[in-house]
Amino acid sequence: MNVEVKTYRKGEIPGIIAIDGQNCRGCDACKRYCPTGAITGMFGATHRIDRDRCISCGQCLINCPFGAPYETVDTVEEVQAKLGDKRYTVAAIIAPAVRVAVGEPFGLPAGSLVTGKMYGAMRKAGFVIVDNNFAADLTIMEEGTEFIQRARHALFGEKAEHGGEIGPLPQFTSCCPAWVRFVETNYPSLIPHLSSAKSPQQMAGAVAKTYGAERIFKVDPEFIYTVGVMPCTAKKFEASRPEFQSACNFVKERGGASPGTPYPDVDTVLTTRDLARLLKRMKIDLAAENNAEGGTLFAEYTGAGTIFGNTGGVMEAALRTAYVVLTGNNLAKLEFEEVRGLRGVKSASIQLRDAKYGKDVTLKVAVVHDIRANIRPIVEDVLAGRSPYHFIEVMNCPGGCINGGGQPICDTGSSWIGRILPSFAWS
């Protein structure tokens, strides 16, 4: 297929998802999951994906009854080759949602938490562990601090410390690569509202190849091969964005060795399904592994980092830290029940006293997931300037990353979290 694509820059993978016309029955189920209307082809005819509109979220892939959509990028063999190459330190950046799903392909019940077994299996395969939960904690530090700065700027007129520009409220989270691409292709005027913080995956890659190379692994960053292990197909696209070579530039600026070709922060991405396939190829049975420790500094994470995989998790983690930073007091109860659960849009108001300014504020936050169904009214409100919220978490997939497009496909379930209404497909 050599159709020209317009919404991709040079070097980016132009769309991760394609449809196999042999298997497609034209039933239109996928269209009801697609957040951007990227699936074309009339009812009854073979469907196709408009890659310019596609945000690579993979919801069609995990929900097609006939298994027609597939991933165009598969680097399992490449990773296996790198694992066998002794020159390379292969660092696995493991997302939170992987540890509750990777057991499923090995026969464990849905939702089994297998962090220890997963560490064991992956270290046996030759990976060093860079838990993405560590990077999630880092994201909270950066994104939370950015939010506090934006909030104090908007509410109290605080100026930036270094005279830089401060973005407007509400601040949107930027962890979800499908959501970021959704903004870039559909609502570019929202870009200033997006947190400038990178997603945890990209932070982990950049940190592993700079600080990690220098202090933890003590190897040349060129010989660190970072593998994102993600519940997500869009992460494959994200890793290919050309700006994500910051570690390479950082090392070069500080007089490090200049590589022949610049290396990306994250070299390749495996989905949870890919990881299960890789382990099976290497004859490693994750279910039979013993619990193991992560073994590196980057495997230390907190409860706030791990809930990133659930819808509302980023918000909850950010609120825990922001509350303490803003008020100087500890939280009586860490759980923010209002932002949990499968309702399409969840909102919460948090009353607190900003210790620095001695003023009471009510923070209004919202959590949106399943953007196909829920995002447009929220976005329209923000664009019209009537949004009551200060901070909005957005995740593309229903339920958050735990139901991402790269997760093991659960045949006895469905991602449909809306009401049970029949649809009468016609044209």
Binding site: L113, T302, I307, T321, R340, P398
Partner: protein, 108 residues
Amino acid sequence: MSEKKKPYDYVESPFMLTRREFVIIGGIIIALLAVPVVWLRSALVNRNYYIKARTKGLYQDDVSSKIRMSHENPAIARFYKEFAGHPLSAVSEELLHTTYVNRMNALS
């Protein structure tokens, strides 16, 4: 048409079925028709169980963590102490922050 002009002389006896047989066979038909409907209902109601199970798994990981707030992670503290300084520092901005591109114009 009047009764007399009917073009046939015989019909099926309505007594082919006893009342008892009618009720039993009719009941079986209705019951069998209900089976797929009941099955479908339960499949639809339980369709999100795996999403809920995975969600529960992560919250369980949170509860069982010794530290549950990001800023208390000692590894993060060490990273800032040894490397980045503080959030939004120059190093942070270079390594941990990014920019976005407008891709909409390309579409229209």
